[in-house]
Amino acid sequence: MSLFAHQIRADQLVFWRNRESAVFVFLFPVLLFVLLSIVYSGEYRGRPVTDYLVPSLITYGVANTAFGGLAIILVVRRELGILKRIRATPLPSWMYLSATLCSTLLVFTLQAAAIMALGRLLYDWHLPSEWPSLFAAFLLGAICFAGMGFGAASLIRSAEGASAVVNVVTLPMAFLSGGFGPTRDYPEVLQAIADALPLTYLVDIVQGIVYDGKPIWEQPGAVAVLLAWGLAGTLIAARLFAWEPRER
C-alpha cells in the first residue's frame, strides 16, 4: 500500500472516530437539507423546491466541509502538536497536506451523495441533464473552498476559537448566498453583502446549470471569482501556514 493511501486511510479513521467532527462536518448539512425540505414546499421557478434545495445544500456542504471542517482539523492538529510530530517522520509535508485535502474531499463527496440520495428517496429528486457540469461545479467549489480553508487555518490562532470563527463565517455566508434557500426577497443591502461572498458565486453557477441549462464553461465570470478566492487562501497559507503550536 502506498504511503499516500496509508495516510488517507489514517485520516479517514481519525475523522470518523471523532464523533464531533463526524456529526458536525458530515451530518450537519445533511440534517439541514432534511429540515429545510420539510419547511419549504411547493415550487420555485416552476420546478419542485427540492430541485433548488438539493444542489444548494451541497454548496453549503462545500463551505462547511471543504472550508470549515478542513480549517478546524488543521488548527486543532497544529495546536495539539500533531503536525509538529508529523514533521519529524519521513512522511513528506506536501504528501501530508494533500492527503488531508483528499480525505476532506472524500468526506464531502459522501456528504453530497447522501444529500442526493435523500432527495431521491424522500422527494423523487433526479439529477439534471447537465449533471457532469453540476459535478464539475461541486468539485471546483470544494477545491477553491479548501484553498480558503488552508488560508483560514493559517490565520486562526487557537484551537478553542477555530470552530467559533468557522461557524461565524460559514453559517451567515450560506444564509446570504442562497445556500439555505432563495434570496430574491432579501433586502437589497443583504444582497449587496452576498455579492461579496464566494459562496454566492458557487450557488449562482449551480442555479445556472439547474435552471437555465447553462453549463459551467458558459459561466466564466463566476468561475474566475471562485478561483481568485481559492488562490487568495492558498497564497495566505503559503506565507503563513505553521506546523508548530501558536499558543505555547
Binding site: L80, G81, A88
Partner: protein, 282 residues
C-alpha cells in the same frame, strides 16, 4: 567510531535574544548524551535544530552524517523524536496510532513489540483520551521508536512525572541504550542526567559551561572540610584534602583543642551543578 551528532560553534537568536551562543559537542554512536540545564538555557533550541525544526544562525551541524537543516527524508527515517509537548488523536487507540506512524517508515518495528517495549500492553486497544499523563508519555516514546531509529531525541522526557513514573521511564531509556541506540536527552533534573547519561554537558545561558562523564564532573570538584570554631562554622575548600586536614588537625592538637563538628566531604554533583549555574558566564 563515527559521531552520531557533531555540533560546532552553533548559534541561534530569536530577535534580540541569543538563545544558543556558540556551542560545540559531539555524540558518539551508541552513547547517551545529556544536555543538562535550567529552563531557558538553550536545551530545546539546540535539540530542535538537530531535529530539523529550526534553522541555525551559525555553526556546523551534522546528524548521522547529514545536515538536519536540509530536512532529508533519509535522516528522518533514522531518527526518533520525543517532543516536549505533543499529543495524538484522542479517539484513536494506542495500537492504531502506532500502526499509523509505523506506516511512515520503510523498515518499522513491529507494533506489538513497541507496545511491549514501552509497557503499554494493557492499554493496547484503549483510546488515547483515557490514558494517564505517564502512559501518554510512554506512547510518545513508542512513536519515536516505531520507525526503528538509530538516534533518539528525548526533550525533557520525564518533566511532570511522579518518582515512580520517572524510575519506570529511566528503565525504558536504559533499555534503549541496551538496544544500541544513540540518545540525546535534555533535562533539568540532575539525578536524571546522573542516572542515564554517559556524558553530560551543562548548559547555561546558551553556553556549555562544562562537559564530561558524571564521575568526571564530581572528580573535578574540590573537597570541603567543615568544622566549628567559637560557635562559627568554618569551611575549607581544597584540592589536597590530606595535607589540608593534616595541617588543620596538627594545629588543633598542638593547641590542645577540639575541632567541633568536624566533617570532610566530597562535594556532590548537585553542589557542582548549582555552583556552575551561579558562576558568571563570561
Amino acid at each position: 567510531m563515527a559521531a552520531a551528532v557533531d555540533v560546532r560553534g552553533l548559534r541561534k537568536s530569536y530577535g534580540d535574544h541569543e538563545a544558543v551562543r556558540g556551542i560545540t559537542f559531539r555524540i558518539e554512536e551508541g552513547e547517551v548524551y545529556c544536555l543538562l540545564g535550567p529552563n531557558g538555557a538553550g536545551k530545546t533550541t539546540t535539540i530542535e535544530i538537530l531535529e530539523g525544526y529550526r534553522a541555525r544562525d551559525a555553526g556546523e551541524v551534522t546528524v548521522l552524517g547529514l545536515d538536519p537543516g536540509r530536512r532529508d527524508r533519509t535522516l528522518r527515517e533514522r531518527m526518533g523524536v520525543v517532543l516536549q509537548h505533543s499529543e495524538t488523536w484522542p479517539q484513536v487507540t494506542v495500537a492504531e496510532t502506532l500502526r499509523i506512524y509505523a506506516g511512515y517508515y520503510r523498515d518499522p518495528r513491529d507494533v506489538d513489540e513497541v507496545i511491549e517495549l514501552v509497557g503499554l500492553e494493557e492499554k493496547r486497544d484503549a483510546r488515547i483520551k483515557i490514558l494517564s499523563g505517564g502512559q501518554k508519555r510512554r506512547l510518545d516514546l513508542g512513536l519515536a521508536l516505531v520507525g526503528n531509529p538509530d538516534l533518539v531525541f528525548l526533550d525533557e522526557p520525564t518533566t511532570g512525572f511522579d518518582p515512580q513514573a520517572r524510575r519506570n521511564a529511566w528503565e525504558m531509556i536504559r533499555g534503549l541504550r541496551a538496544l544500541g541506540k544513540t540518545i540525546l536527552l535534555t533535562t533539568h533534573y540532575l539525578d536524571e542526567a546522573q542516572q542515564l547519561a554517559d556524558r553530560v554537558a551543562v548548559l547555561r545561558d546558551g553556553v556549555i559551561v562544562t562537559e564530561g562523564t558524571p564521575a568526571e564532573l564530581v572528580a573535578s570538584s574540590r573537597t570541603e572540610i567543615r568544622y566549628r570554631e567559637n560557635g562559627e562554622v568554618k569551611i575549607v575548600e581544597t584540592d589536597e584534602p590530606t595535607r589540608a586536614l593534616h595541617e588543620l588537625t596538627s594545629r588543633a592538637v598542638a593547641q590542645g583543642r577540639e575541632l567541633e563538628a568536624l566533617e570532610v566531604r566530597r562535594r556532590s554533583l548537585e553542589d557542582v551543578y548549582l555552583e556552575l549555574l551561579r558562576e558568571d558566564v563570561t
